[in-house]
Symmetry: C2
Subunit: 270 residues, 2 copies
């Protein structure tokens, strides 16, 4: 998917919501365990009930990998089920030397039809560029994450700035805003303004609204650019809104509530 199509979706739905598919067999409603593939059965109903409010879906790859080969089957079915006009993110945080990154790219962009993958920056340019050789496929590079450990290395001072600012500045020379986005944690809304000034054109994937805390209003006000420029993720507060048979309807309600807030913020700030 290209940037114009993504922005068109955002405008049509008045939403920049990404639904995180952190699907855990131990947390899905019990009645689904009778299904042949409970993880896919859960995801399918979540997608059906939320897709009118969302522009993106983000399976968290660890949840599928932990289940062995069956988990990869569930993941493949899930990404193939998501309608083409929705943006798909493999939240995999991969990154390795060139010939290895190429194979990760193949796994997520060819073996599976994801639009994008999250990538860790520590190994530098040649670990990232192999993901950039696919038309209309995206890298979402870790900029500043939202977890406590983000203060261990990302906020070290290098050249009179934070390391994460140097990571964002340097990597923005490797690809433009049609191929590259950044993960920017919402628990640091104050920092989003500065990162937006550093890379005005790029999309940010913002985790951390919902279960991880974070302030949607501040993130939106400080993070928007003229293409919206934000995808805000919510996982557990949507997909586990209920653990009963009404889980899909409740997930839809939770997604709609976020979408309504987003619609307000788009009207106010964009």
């Amino acid at each position: 998917m290209n940037r114009d199509l993504l922005f068109k979706q955002i405008q049509e739905k008045s939403s920049y919501l990404c639904v995180g598919l952190d699907t855990d067999p131990e947390r899905i409603p019990r009645h689904l365990l009778r299904e042949k593939d409970p993880v896919f059965a859960f995801n399918k109903q979540i997608i059906d009930s939320t897709e009118q409010y969302a522009v993106a879906y983000k399976p968290n790859i660890a949840f599928y990998e932990a289940l062995g080969p069956a988990g990869w089957e569930s993941l493949q079915k899930t990404v193939e089920y998501i309608p083409d006009h929705l943006f798909t993110i493999a939240d995999a945080k991969r990154g390795d030397i060139g010939n290895t990154s190429r194979l990760y790219a193949k796994a997520f962009f060819e073996t599976m039809p994801f639009d994008s993958i999250t990538v860790a920056p520590y190994m530098g340019k040649d670990s990232v560029t192999p993901f950039l050789g696919f038309e209309n496929k995206w890298v979402i590079l870790l900029g500043h994450t939202s977890n406590p450990g983000s203060m261990d290395f990302q906020t070290l001072q290098v050249n009179n700035q934070y390391l994460y600012e140097e990571v964002i500045r340097k990597s923005s020379e490797w690809a433009g805003p049609d191929q590259l986005m950044y993960v920017v944690g919402a628990t640091r809304a104050d920092k989003i303004k500065k990162i937006r000034e550093l890379v005005p054109e790029y999309f940010f994937l913002v985790p951390g609204v919902g279960a991880q805390g974070g302030d949607l209003e501040a993130v939106s006000r400080l993070g928007f650019n003229d293409h919206c420029g934000l995808l805000v993720n919510s996982s557990r507060s949507i997909i586990y809104a209920s653990s009963e048979k009404d889980f899909a309807a409740k997930a839809g309600n939770a997604a709609r509530a976020l979408q309504e807030d987003m619609s307000d913020f788009l009207n106010q700030f964009l």
Copy 2:
């Protein structure tokens, strides 16, 4: 596996060789493609012909992941086939927020019986510690890698040292040398001495001998500690020593040649 057992292996075999299983269906001998699981058939013969010269095996997870669910089946069979007294490394370079890292740990330490996993440090302590809660299982954290991109961020100056030195110094507070190792690239043998001074007790996993260049003699002389402290990996120069029916025998020869050098260096420098 614990550190004493690993060192005992090293002494008994006079070897600190790790064989990298970067198994690519397009590079394995053609006759194996008639097998039901060509990747596993290849790995099995490579393991049989090299295990007397090696102390560790390191499947590069990207190669399996690129093949979809079938690749995970091959990986699972491979790690289960490797004899228990050999150290197994999932070269996966994972790392995510706490609850997600826990699932990656489950994938590699429970669903599959790996002894260790490579982990990327960018997300900090809570992305690493979930891998440390398993008895006799190890984290191998990226310190200084051997690829060109290792100069993009790892060698930035922070607090009057390189970023990778700060990563190693700080992370060594999270776990001792019985649970934590570091990836230290062999193309920078001059730097190994300094890293060895920083963390005298820890094992280093050294990629980059063979196809990536690197000087085994210098790495050994500068990197040994009193438990050897090195695992030196070679992938392509062993497993692709021949593309004919003699591939396993040729792989054994290539592994033996490296082991003989290692035996000399253990006698000279340890």
